[in-house]
Symmetry: C2
Subunit: 205 residues, 2 copies
């Protein structure tokens, strides 16, 4: 498609195409949808996008997104500040919050060490994590980084930096998902499931 | 997902979710992508969306979108104004233009008659089509509406209104797509292909 009849439409399609997973065809469908709605809708959507980027703030303590200087999670007095869960990005915070199983605080790295993408330790919120380990009384750090080479590299780097500053460092368990058939699990996951098996009496804790 | 930690993020996700085919999960992915880009990107995208809706114009002659009062196609002196192709929306104009096979002009209905959706003839650009049939010297109207019940209804309605005003009314051919195996074509399409067969000597025109 190259004939949009309108520069305005072409501009909108080109900008939408820069979003991940949005091709030319989808972008055109979205643009035509926006054209069919009233002006208020386009204004609300456009301004929500602009405000999101220009007005967003990050929690000074854990780097989660926040509308205040300190995020709702960090300022929640009912949570346990002695347990920190270290995650790659804010999406992971949301995913873990949705489980309702974690009552500690978070530390958002803002990425993981990835030499291929030119991301080193200094690009991530690692200095502030070390400072937290030194100044806050943290009993346990739970690493919840991706099970990839980059995740493992970051885990190892953090472990070396933090092992003398924190009593316990753990990682979330990996294994066959609940409800999945063993035959459909990939070999590496199934292997990990066997190695990290849980003692029968602990299963029903 | 219900814990976005930020009202700004929640607003952006909610607005993006109103786009067709964008669920909560995709909207969140798009919002986080926007957060990772520089402010210029969010500004350009947001403003392109707002400007698209507030500044777009429609060709007074054929109702195609246009940056001018009359669109590029209608004002192209090299095109044949005696042949009009009637289409549902501007996406169809783009699709036909991309074939490079049509040198006439268009008329964009802005939809098709659909009692189920509450769309009647008065909601569409039909009056202006009748006016064009009366005032422009049109030799042929080519109907290129969808092959659905609504498309057929609209075809029939337009045929009744226009048959005394235009010499020839035709419709685009339907049949098995070029390169498709017959066994994979649906029965209705294959049936139409047989009924609307083309004489051997016309095949190589």
């Amino acid at each position: 498609m190259n004939n949009y009849s309108s520069r305005l439409l072409e501009d909108a399609v080109n900008e939408l195409t820069r979003l991940p997973g949005i091709g030319k065809r989808t972008a055109l469908r979205l643009a035509l949808h926006i054209l069919r709605q009233d002006e208020l809708y386009a204004g609300t959507l456009g301004n929500a996008i602009i405000k999101l980027r220009t007005s967003i703030r990050y929690c000074v303590r854990c780097h989660n997104i926040s509308d205040e200087e300190v995020c709702d999670i960090c300022s929640d007095q009912k949570r346990d500040p002695s347990v920190l869960c270290v995650v790659e990005d804010i999406r992971d915070v949301m995913a873990i919050e949705n489980t309702g199983q974690f009552r500690g605080l978070y530390h958002v790295l803002g990425g993981i060490i990835s030499p291929m993408d030119g991301i080193g330790p200094s690009d991530l919120n690692i200095d502030s994590l070390i400072r937290r380990a030194e100044t806050e009384s943290i009993a346990e750090l739970i690493m919840a980084l991706p099970a990839t080479t980059e995740g493992d590299t970051t885990n190892y780097y953090l472990f070396k930096k933090l092992k003398d500053k924190v009593k316990t460092i753990s990682a979330i368990s990996r294994g066959v998902a609940i409800g999945d058939d063993l035959e459909f699990a990939d070999e590496i996951t199934l292997g990990k499931s066997i190695i990290n098996r849980v003692l029968y009496e602990k299963l029903f804790d």
